[in-house]
Amino acid sequence: MFFRTDHLQQLLNTLSSKGYCCIGPQIRDGAIIYDEIHSTDQLPQGFSDQQVPGSYSLSQNSSLKFFDWANGPQAIKPHLFAAREKIWQSAQDADGKITFNTTEPEPRLIAIIGARACDIAAMKIQDQHFLEQEFVDPYYKIHRENLLLVAVNCSHPADTCFCYSTGDGPFVEDGADLVLTELDQGFLIDAHTEPGNKILEALTLENDTAEHLEQAASIKTNACKQKRSLPEFDIKKRLLSELKNGIWHDIATKCLSCGNCTSVCPTCFCHSEADVPELDGKSSTHYRQWDSCFSQGHSYIHGITIRSETSQRYRQWLTHKFASWHEQYGRSGCVGCGRCITWCPVGIDVTESLKNFEERRRG
């Protein structure tokens, strides 16, 4: 179906009337971020992004499109796997008895508008990790069960994008409730789920035309033309056979071991946990927060830091993401969003890091 741009506010209003808090793209501090949204005026209409390794900027153009840009630093992940979340609280009463109380979050309906194919592919991996295991993570589950996704197909991938080569984009196949493709005058809109259908019913729609479909096809063709890609060789096999290669040390001379790559990665799920007691010592809150394989604590066990050097930490990240991840989740942990390339302060390019292993071998 075809949904006119003039009617876009209807989508936000419909979601709100059904009790959803709308989270959508907007510009803050020079980047497109996802936060609460009430009006289409808040959307980054007419903005495009320029992304290269270690650099991100926005510029305004004469386009009337709302979603003509590639992803900013975050999208879905922080809304499901919170950066810092209370896990439980403990308290000691006057008799010294200790009680533990759960702090599961209150269910809140959230609709994320503008999620991209890479984000949804990443979410499916996080679903595997947090939900489809013997022990289900109740915190993630509450957020996830109350999520509605309005996805948008990518029209202009950034220079750092490579979702086409990982097979995760640029168009959304499944996993979203509604999928939009932004055309000149409006959107092609499809519902993929029953909740999506319910929203669709409340919108003013027109039949799509052959011209609309042609436009969408051409957008897809262009969006598949991406500057970066993963190397062709068997990455999993190669990485695991190159654990002692000097390339890890070469990368480590540049790597800051700062954890920016893992923090912006939509599939990274590592976290640390800590207790924060009240000053009076009578109660305490147990938190979990995003951690990274680039931190010292990540490999600290019984007085020993197993990966004290940056080369070991970078190797851990890459070999997990692209090799041992396959055994855990049946696929690579990379969805080609390119965030780790853009948001690396020193611009280390993961696709180049991987290609190094091929070129050195040839050399």
Binding site: R28, D29, G30, A31, I33, G54, S55, Y56, S57, G72, P73, Q74, P78, A83, R84, A252, T253, K254, C255, L256, S257, C258, G259, N260, S263, V264, A274, V276, P277, E278, L279, D280, G281, Q289, W290, D291, S292, S295, Q296, G297, S308, E309, T310, T342, W343, P345, V346
Partner: protein, 258 residues
Amino acid sequence: MTKPTVAVHKFSSCDGCQLALINLGEPLLVLTQLVDILHFAEAGPLDEDAKVDIAIIEGSISASHDIERIKKIRDNSSYLITVGACATSGGIQALRNMADTKQWITGIYANPSVIDSLDNSSPIKDYVKVDLELWGCPINQRQIINAIRALLFGVMPVEEHDKICMECKRHQSVCVMVTKGEPCMGPVTRTGCGALCPSVGRDCFGCYGPAENPNTQAMANRLEGLGLVGDEVARRFLFINSGAEAFHQQGSRTKETD
């Protein structure tokens, strides 16, 4: 039951870290129920030579009489905590360690003989054993409460030494280096401040000192790539924590090659 005892001692410093305690508000009342504060000149109690369970030290060793004083405090205390950049790395006044102190004093003061100043401003750990270091310029309330609470439980607090970036990203702050090319020191600086400066759109200037495993050379290279000249790069390291080893070495190295 007698309460654990605390003393707060000041050396060469601006008093800003002591304010983290004085400005606690209601928690300060809770704290006074948990411990007896025997010496804290800025807040009132005076007993410089009191034997205490926890001595909190602000400021660097900067004058000759400081040395005897800190040794005595060490002898009088079970746990000794340094708070802030001055006590932990020598502070901003450690910039003089790279200059000729005597020449400066002679150039500034009419009667230099009355000035008792060591050549170097040094961290407390150069003179006595330190049990716990709280970095920051200044430290914040959360850090000091966590530290005292942990010691009251009989454990050491969890050391916070990850890079600022980790906390910055948890806050969903947009990276000022990647979007604006700001010379942010976050990737080599120790966490603890809550990524305060980037959260208001400005670059971290390293006031919490070096993080664990800091790649200062890669950081220096990146700062040059952002357009800073050698001396400007050196001054990013040689600032609040110029006495901290990793920053001192990098700053000196960058200066030499400039």
